[in-house]
């Protein structure tokens, strides 16, 4: 018996070795690193954080966020508004549904799924906030962070029941309020330079981030917090990311809650909440 077990161990080890050898020798190929980028990519890589060409830069080492919120910023603002109207449209569909939190799904899944979901429920928002706050430094940003946050709401809805979020005060009105607050912050941030320019008589644009030679107003990019050292905040990018995070997390959570409303409630309808 003992000898048989040793033989078995050796056999299993040999099979694993053979599989690893096959995988490494056949399946893994070496791709030579790409030496040059296309000129458009090179242009963005060379300008977004190039302090010697401050007339073109956006003061952020993260190229994608620079493009999203600076170079083509208005486009992103319009996208955000389209998303907002989509949520409003969804709310219009259920406008006459009266929601009684005490009747909404309270059972959820088994105690095992519930417990694991609860732990994940406090972990996901932390990751989401980190992604959103560092959008101007590392891949990520407001929309990504908000989407991650919405996963927490989705998990809570599925595992703990829709009633869970409702009873914690995540009502339609409140979530829509946060969503609108995010949009208002975005509007203020994109208008601020333009209005300041109007009042002091200098050129300033809507959605302007850093100063330009012909438009000498901007958000700045570095702040000295004394003991905390210098903090790079990349002008308007961090404010826009935070506002977008607020808007997207509240908006998507609301969309998920609407989608998860029980069918009977939707058919029954009733007074406006």
């Amino acid at each position: 018996m003992k000898n048989k077990e040793i033989l078995l161990g050796v056999l299993a080890g040999l099979i694993v070795l053979a599989l690893v050898y096959l995988l490494v020798s056949l399946a893994i190929i070496i791709v030579p690193p790409q030496e040059d980028n296309r000129w458009l990519a090179s242009w963005f890589l060379e300008t977004t954080y190039n302090s010697e060409r401050k007339e073109l830069w956006s003061a952020s080492p993260e190229v994608v966020t620079s493009i999203l919120w600076d170079y083509r910023g208005l486009d992103t603002v319009y996208e955000t508004s389209v998303f907002f109207f989509a949520i409003i449209g969804g709310l219009m569909l259920v406008r006459s549904v009266k929601i009684d939190p005490s009747k909404l799904g309270i059972r959820g899944m088994s105690v095992i799924s519930k417990t694991v979901t609860k732990i994940v429920l406090v972990s996901i928002p932390v990751v989401a906030v980190s992604v959103a706050l560092h959008g101007h430094l590392t891949p990520g940003g407001g929309f990504q962070g908000g989407s991650i946050f919405a996963v927490a709401s989705l998990l809570a809805i599925v595992a703990l029941g829709v009633g869970f979020l409702y009873r914690r005060g995540w009502s339609k009105v409140r979530l829509l309020g946060f969503r609108t607050m995010g949009l208002i912050i975005i509007s203020i941030v994109i208008m601020a330079v333009f209005i300041t320019g109007l009042t002091i008589g200098a050129t300033g644009y809507i959605m302007q981030n850093q100063w330009k030679p012909w438009a000498p107003i901007g958000y700045g990019y570095l702040i000295n917090l004394g003991l905390l050292g210098n903090v790079l905040y990349s002008g308007s990018l961090i404010f826009l990311n935070i506002a977008e995070f607020l808007a997207v997390s509240a908006g998507l959570s609301l969309a998920f809650i609407i989608m998860a409303l029980p069918r009977e409630e939707l058919i029954k309808g009733g007074d406006l909440e």
Partner: protein, 167 residues
């Protein structure tokens, strides 16, 4: 009040998670982490934490670390070895769903036992009966279907540690 206690309990784990995920540490990140932990603790904390003193108890954390190391090395290796023997000797397979009683009081301890059973190859938690305190486990090599023997073979060790960590 409940929420404040929950925030206190979750503060340190959430700050650690924030800093590990962010990948850089300085005083500014620490302050952002503290703010994040407070906000998230306010949002969902009271669902997770029932007793703050339990979260801050170092003895429980000690047993958690011991169990994690022991589980992911010794217990996992043993279970893999048993399944490996079955793969080469399929006549030994004797699948059955057995009833395993458990004797812990908190949801966390129960979840620890159930997930420990599922994560080791050969056994999967199929269902849980909270009222009568039974787990239903699919066992690939059911040597005996009686409650007592099944518990000894499957979950007795997990339960010992789960009790020390969470109860």
């Amino acid at each position: 009040m409940k929420r404040i206690r929950a925030i206190l309990g979750l503060m340190i784990p959430l700050i650690i998670l924030y800093i590990v995920y962010t990948g850089s540490f300085n005083l500014f990140e620490l302050i952002l982490g503290i703010i994040t932990a407070i906000v998230v603790g306010y949002l969902f904390g009271d669902v997770v934490v029932e007793k703050t003193s339990k979260v801050l108890d170092p003895v429980r954390w000690f047993w958690l670390v011991i169990y994690a190391v022991f589980y992911f090395t010794v217990i996992e290796a043993k279970a893999h070895w048993e399944v490996l023997k079955l793969i080469f000797n399929p006549s030994g397979i004797k699948p059955a769903i057995v009833r395993v009683p458990y004797n812990v009081s908190t949801d966390y301890a129960l979840t620890t036992i159930a997930n420990s059973i599922t994560n080791t190859p050969g056994t999967i938690t199929v269902d849980v009966d909270e009222k009568r305190k039974y787990l239903y486990v699919h066992w690939i090599k059911a040597v005996d279907v009686s409650d007592k023997v099944a518990k000894e073979n499957i979950s007795a060790l997990f339960e010992k540690y789960a009790h020390k960590i969470f109860d």
